[in-house]
Structure formats: C-alpha cells, structure tokens
Subunit: 137 residues, 3 copies
C-alpha cells in the first residue's frame, strides 16, 4: 500500500512547527500497520528533523543555525539574486528536506520526547506544504 | 516484505557505536534481496549517520560537534529543564535520527570504508534501542 | 516494484553535481508511478542533499562547510592515516549519504527551485557512483 497526502500551514520567520500529531493521523488514516512514512519538504528554504519540541530548544536551534550560517554574511547567493536569504538555503541544505520514520504495529517509532518538526528557515512568512508518503502493508 | 527488528546496546558519553555488522545480519535474516533498510533512533539525543569508523574520526566528529553546539553555552533548554543536555538535543537535530540504505542483491550498498554508526550525544550513559525496518522483496 | 540503478560521473574537488534530471529519468524508466526514490552515496567523503543549484550557493555552501570543519585543522584522522581528508569525512557525516524523495503520480515532489545534488567533499578528484533505489507501484 502507498498512500500520499500533504500537510498545509502558514509560517512566520524562524518558526518551528510540530507536525507529529498530523503525521500520526495521516498514518492512522492510511491503515498501513507496518512500513514507513517519508516526510518531505518541497522547497529549498525549509527543513524537517526531530527534536524535543519546547520553546527553549526552538531558541537554541536558532542560535546554532546562526553560528553555522549567520544571517549577515555576504552570501554570493544574495549578491546574485538579491533576495537576502542565502543563509536560509545553506541552513536548509544542512538539515535536509527528508525524514523517514518506521511504522510498527500501527505506531510511529518515535521516542517519548521526540517530535517531528518543520523548520521555517526563509526570511519571510510562507505558505508551506509538506508531503507525506506512507508505504507498507 | 516488511521485517521490523531492533538493536539494543549500552553507551557511554560521546560514544560512536559501529552498527554495520548488526544491520547486515538483520538484512540477511529478513531474506529481503532488494529494497531498503531504515535505521532509526527513537529519542532526541542520539543520531545515526555513516562515517569511516576509526578512532581519529571519532575524536574529529566530537570536535566538530563542539564547534557547532558547544557544551558550555547557556542553552535555553537547560535554563528551563535543568538537565544540562541542551547541546545534545541541538547536535542530534542537526545529524538526524534516520538513515536509509539500499539493499541490492542481498547486500547493503555501503562503500568499503563506510560504516553505519550511532552517536551517543547525551550527557550520561544510556540504554539505547535502534529500530531497523527492512522493506523489499 | 523495486528498480535499482546507479549514476556514474567524475568530480573535481569542491564540486556540486546536479543529479535532478538523471534521477528523474531513472524514475520515469522504472515506471513506478507512486512510491519513493532513495539516492545513496556509497563512500564516506561525499554527500547528497537538496539545494537551489546556482553558482552563488555552491560557494556559500563551501564557506559554511569550512566554518563547520575547516580544512587546515589538525585532524586526528590525518595524523593516523596521512591522507589529509579528515575535514572531508566530518563534512560528509554531517550532510549524510542518503536522501529519500516521494514519487507522486509519476513525478518527484521537488519544489521548483530545489535540486538533488551530490557534494564532492574529498580532497582529490574522484570517480563517483550514486545508487538509486526506486520502490513503489
């Protein structure tokens, strides 16, 4: 069985969005009991990963991203295209657009304090879509 | 065919654990000849990736993680929760909890000097479980 | 259906190779209409991710990788093995060897400005092979 769906939501700059419940519901609706769900971001200035979703870590992740790819460097991307989001692209390429979570006996195999999150890395609010591909039996 | 299993092991702080042989055995036992294996960490202070598993790189990875998310910063996570492992969460979110490796004609498509590793990023020893989801035919 | 194939190409140091069209062709050839494609690098000094493929970001990614794992540090890997590519291994372990992209109604679910790229992180030109595993129906 292969069941495709997508999540849609609006974001603000620097937002981390907890997708866990919505992914869980899509898996339940698919009736796949054993398999995987791929969570995929179409677009090059957002990313998915897992983290304990709490306000402290939202701030801590923002500061680590700023150390890796500071907003105010002279990015070649900005010099060419003028959209000012060179740091967004670099951060997204590091975190990656794709996450695969096993489904075992109907449940995601996440830890208790582990949430699936979307990170808005762009420098403006966005309408986002995340693709969910559930595969299994 | 979908075959779920898990690996269990104890870790010490900063440990890198070579999972390659155990993943290979799980794939052989599954009798899947062509497909994929997903290696997934339930929990938000550990990660999986691939690397040449040798003591020099264990140290080098530790130093790069310290540059990205130094242990002794004032993490908002630590101020709120007092468990002192803000750096662990940030590091794990960057490396990611999930790895997918193709299986072709019964073999993992790893390079000769490429091992599948678990990184213990927490600030205390842990009992760890890693989920393996083998899918294919 | 499971269809394995691979892409082969030569690289130069620091090169970013746009694989998008070749992955798209492999998916079309597989006749899989719904499922996933796993893009996997066998080897520990290359990586795959997605990014807007344009020369400015190639340079910006190179500079971010240099901040994370500078070429000229005293890597323990180099002291042991003398091949001078400790930074390559560390960078590759952070970016990761594996990317999974959904296929929905015959198309990759990439964004308009999002390309699948291979990053050559080694310190010498290489002959590279990337494995594509298409799974679905």
């Amino acid at each position: 069985m292969i069941v495709s769906s997508s999540l849609q939501f609006k974001t603000v700059v620097g937002e981390m969005v907890d997708l866990t419940d919505r992914v869980r519901k899509a898996v339940e609706k698919s009736r796949v009991r054993n398999g995987t769900v791929v969570v995929f971001v179409p677009g090059a200035t957002g990313a998915v990963t897992t983290i304990e979703f709490e306000p402290g870590l939202v701030r801590d992740m923002g500061e680590a991203l700023e150390r890796l790819a500071p907003r105010d460097l002279d990015y070649s991307h900005n010099l060419r295209w003028g959209d000012g989001n060179g740091h967004s692209h670099v951060r997204a390429a590091f975190l990656g657009p794709s996450l695969t979570v096993p489904i075992v006996e109907g449940a995601l195999t996440l830890g208790t304090w582990q949430q699936i999150v979307f990170l808005e890395l762009d420098n403006r609010p966005r309408d986002r879509r995340v693709v969910l591909q559930v595969m299994g039996e």
